[in-house]
């Protein structure tokens, strides 16, 4: 049986699923309820000098019937007094001594930082997370992402914290930076015990096109917010992988960004995260999703023979390489299962208009199954992604697997196109219709 327990930089938890700092962790009431339902840990809503918030605060992207594919907020840190939060934190720890309670912090001066670290340690927190990520509001006041975007400032503040911390310290990174590994390395240099990423991405979620103002609307105005939810997962995965692969980071990573089910969780773990944090999905569905997450993760581990989570953390990392090291001899082409095809012809128009004109229709219009033109198919995947029928278009391997040749090797052998009209152009291998053919259809 799979064991979901983790030890993350010295913080113990019954499972890797933690609530990320945000509205679901506003209060002891919510965190108790979440632990009771099976969450393994919680990062308290960021503590500091309490703020005053605006209304409204959130915006979302819906996509064809699916609500909140992407989410955005202009909310600040906690608006509750520190004393109330600390009292509740103590109470939660009393009831759930084996669950992870992490205090997220954001203040300004060295004095404030060191004071608040003491306070949360006294309240029984198991760890501390430094919020250097918030990309709206707080950064205008020199905090949040204003710190996360300056590796040196980040390093200085982290050192202040490390001077007094007796419990593990996690630095939360902002994605609003071109190279995420720079602040990650700074955290490492300052002696932090772990990093967590990503915080929200600076964004405008949309525009009210009748009132000429972006969302969320506050009277007649708005402000940029932070983007999160399922749509940001690919960005988060890439950043997690970058930090996990970097030789000068080498810190445990708490993965955050668009996680809403066990599959997302496994992906983060395989790319090097060793704990996981969730915010938007809980705001959407409530704490109850944890049952699906833990049971799915257990099922996955059992089916792969993993007994502990450690056994597969980072297991996909060695396979994420530089482009120049990919095998140029590997060749797949699309194949349509005629039995499964329902004749929507979306693959046809996708390849015809959006790719490589490698799918043909039957001259007899009543025969709606398209045909792959194997000569022209470059194996891009597009049609197989678009086909609405499960496993109807598959990509079939055509090379025999005996040859291996990378761009790096070809470059070393002077076997790559180097001039504009080079005969070695990759596109020479397939036919492109003449422009005027377009008007003859």
């Amino acid at each position: 049986m799979a064991n979901l327990k983790i030890n993350f930089a010295g913080i113990q938890a019954p499972n890797p699923f933690w609530l990320a700092s945000g509205p679901p962790t506003n209060s002891g009431y919510q965190i108790m309820k979440a632990f009771d339902q099976g969450w393994g840990g919680a990062v308290w809503k960021t503590l500091g000098v309490p703020v005053v918030n605006v209304s409204s605060r959130y915006g979302a992207i819906n996509h064809r019937g699916n609500r909140v594919v992407g989410f955005n907020n202009i909310e600040l840190i906690t608006d509750r007094r520190l004393c109330d939060n600390l009292r509740e934190m103590e109470e939660v720890k009393k009831h759930f001594p084996n669950h992870a309670v992490i205090a997220s912090l954001m203040v300004q001066t060295k004095k404030e930082w060191q004071q608040i670290v003491h306070d949360v340690q006294n309240a029984g927190a198991d760890g501390i997370e430094l919020n250097f990520g918030c990309p709206h509001g707080m950064c205008e006041r020199g905090m949040g992402s204003a710190v996360g975007q300056e590796p040196e400032v980040l390093e200085t503040i982290t050192r202040w914290v490390m001077e007094v911390a007796t419990i593990p310290v996690i630095v939360k990174l902002t994605p609003n930076i071109s190279d995420i590994t720079e602040p990650a390395q700074a955290a490492r240099r300052a002696g932090a015990n772990a990093i967590s990423l990503i915080n929200t991405i600076q964004s405008l979620i949309g525009v009210d096109i009748d009132r000429f103002v972006t969302y969320p609307v506050v009277e007649n105005s708005s402000s940029n917010g932070g983007y999160c939810g399922p749509a940001v997962k690919p960005i988060a995965l890439n950043m997690v992988k970058n930090c996990a692969q970097h030789p000068l980071v080498q810190l445990p990573i708490s993965g955050i960004g668009g996680i809403e089910n066990w599959r997302d969780a496994v992906e983060f773990l395989l790319l090097g995260a060793s704990s996981l944090q969730v915010c938007t999905a809980v705001m959407h569905y409530g704490f109850g999703i944890i049952r699906d997450m833990t049971s799915g993760l257990e099922q996955y581990m059992d089916s792969h023979g993993f007994e502990t989570i450690d056994q597969f953390i980072g297991k996909a990392l060695p396979n994420v390489k530089h482009w120049e090291d990919l095998n140029l001899k590997y060749r797949v082409i699309a194949s349509i299962d005629e039995e499964k095809c329902i004749g929507c012809q979306l693959c046809y128009i996708a390849c015809e208009d959006g790719a490589h004109q490698a799918i043909d229709l039957n001259d007899d219009k009543s025969m709606r199954v398209p045909k792959i033109n194997e000569e022209n198919c470059v194996g891009c995947n597009l049609c197989s992604l678009i086909c609405p029928v499960e496993n109807c278009i598959t990509m079939v391997r055509k090379d025999d697997g005996n040859e291996h040749l990378t761009w790096r090797q070809r470059t070393e052998a002077n076997d790559v196109p180097t001039t504009f009209d080079d005969a070695l152009a990759g596109g020479n291998s397939h036919t492109v219709p003449a422009p005027l053919e377009a008007l003859k259809k």
Binding site: R64, G65, N66, I342, G343, C344, Q345, L346, Y348, I349, L361, K365, R368, P388, V389
Partner: protein
């Protein structure tokens, strides 16, 4: 009419906004979409569904009306299971087809209620066209001709427009209010005239039209219910299906519904008459068909709709005589079977079923006597007007025709398509 709206709840009610949003979300936006190919008026279905989904309801309405002038009526009365929805690719993987009819209704109903103006016809040709019959074919032809700049007068025998779409189609598919509302909407923006209570019957009527108009479109539909030609057929309470349904639809049924009803026939009209009788309180409704269940012309879903109201189908029985003094008391049947593909009566198998109402639903007559007053119009052997398929021109070049009078009785959507083609044909003819 109000009464009918209560007595016959709509089987395809108007969608609410959430329903329309989620349902439209499902459409795949197929290329050269099978649903559109299956629509006799070729509505760009994936386009209007996407427009609904993306919050352009007005644009969706426009897309529909550009292909089909009776977009709302068709949305409600089309046998979509046999047309667009039956062709939806989802049915191939046992997923419910998009509710195309109801989405279409959502868009067109909104266009009508908000009085959208999609067309701006002019009188720039100086020519005028007469249309006989304000049914779906005639109305559709009128719209097409007005859009092309002709003066259009429609002569209609009845006091209401819309033909069988008003007087015939089952009341649980479309309300009278909806049918009339769409014609008003079209009249408002196209500005054709309808001259009601004016049947074009005699040679003189016809000649008058010929001298006053540059071309004439025949959208006269079919005639009364056919007779079965058996003994006792003219007894009281032995009625034709279309006449009976018209009385229900126009709320002019003058006596309470009989408890036991026998419907003779096996087509969609038979099913409608049976369903409507049951919904109006008949306790025992039998549809009696000469041939087997498999050979029935009625669509499966129409038979299903009748069955859920308690209608029972009895097959391989043929009526021999309508029994009763002056008023119907029952029907004598004989059993039939198919021998080498021929239907034969089984001697000695006669039996009697009691009833208080017999509804004959064995088809409608053709309007041959009216057409006989027009010179040079050729008919086929069943009495359908012969036309050129693309132009809808008859063998008398001044006359064009479409709808039930040409196809022998199909659906509203076919009449709309043919009416539009007729309008195009007339435009081409007059602008030579």
């Amino acid at each position: 009419m109000q009464d009918n709206e209560k007595r016959f709840p709509q089987i395809k009610p108007l969608m609410n906004t959430s329903e329309a949003y989620y349902e439209s979300s499902r459409c795949l936006f197929c290329y050269d979409a099978p649903c559109t190919l299956a629509c006799p008026t070729s509505i760009d279905i994936p386009l209007f569904i996407r427009q609904i989904n993306n919050g352009n309801l007005i644009g969706a309405g426009k897309t529909i009306y550009q292909s089909n002038y009776l977009g709302n009526t068709c949305a409600k009365v089309c046998p979509t299971e046999m047309l667009c929805e039956g062709a939806c690719v989802f049915t191939k993987v046992n997923i419910k087809a998009l509710a195309i009819g109801r989405l279409q209704n959502f868009a067109t109903n909104s266009a009508i209620l908000s009085k959208q103006k999609f067309f701006d016809p002019q009188n720039n040709t100086g020519k005028s066209v007469a249309i006989i019959g304000a049914g779906p074919a005639g109305i559709s032809c009128a719209c097409e001709l007005r859009a092309a700049g002709y003066h259009v007068d429609i002569y209609e025998a009845k006091s209401n427009p819309s033909g069988l779409a008003l007087h015939g189609v089952a009341p649980y598919k479309i309300t009278n209010r909806e049918a009339l509302m769409e014609v008003d909407f079209l009249k408002e923006q196209f500005g054709f005239n309808i001259i009601y209570n004016t049947r074009i019957a005699s040679k003189i009527d016809v000649e008058k039209l010929e001298s006053n108009y540059d071309a004439i479109f025949l959208g006269i539909g079919l005639g009364n219910s056919a007779e079965i030609k058996i003994k006792g057929e003219n007894k009281t309470d032995c009625v034709g299906a279309t006449e009976f349904i018209e009385q229900i639809k126009m709320s002019s049924l003058d006596k309470p519904m009989a408890k036991k009803v026998i419907v003779l026939g096996g087509g969609n009209t038979a099913m409608d008459a049976a369903s409507e009788s049951a919904r109006l309180g008949a306790e025992n409704v039998i549809v009696a068909y000469r041939r087997s269940e498999k050979e029935m012309k009625a669509y499966d879903f129409e038979y299903d709709l009748a069955k859920v109201t308690g209608v029972v189908g009895v097959f391989n029985i043929a009526p021999v005589e309508i029994l009763g003094e002056k008023v119907v008391e029952g029907v004598k049947f004989i059993r039939t079977e198919s021998q080498h593909g021929k239907l034969v009566n089984i001697p000695g198998s006669e039996f009697v079923l009691d009833c208080g109402l017999v509804i004959k639903a064995t088809g409608q007559l053709k309007q041959t006597s009216m057409i006989a007053n027009i010179s040079g119009i050729s008919l086929d052997e069943t009495g359908r007007i012969l036309v050129n398929e693309t132009s809808c021109q008859t063998s008398n070049p001044k006359y064009f025709a479409g709808g039930d009078a040409v196809n022998g009785g199909a659906e509203v959507v076919n009449a709309v398509a043919e009416g539009k083609n007729g309008g195009k044909g007339i435009h081409a003819f007059l602008s030579r």
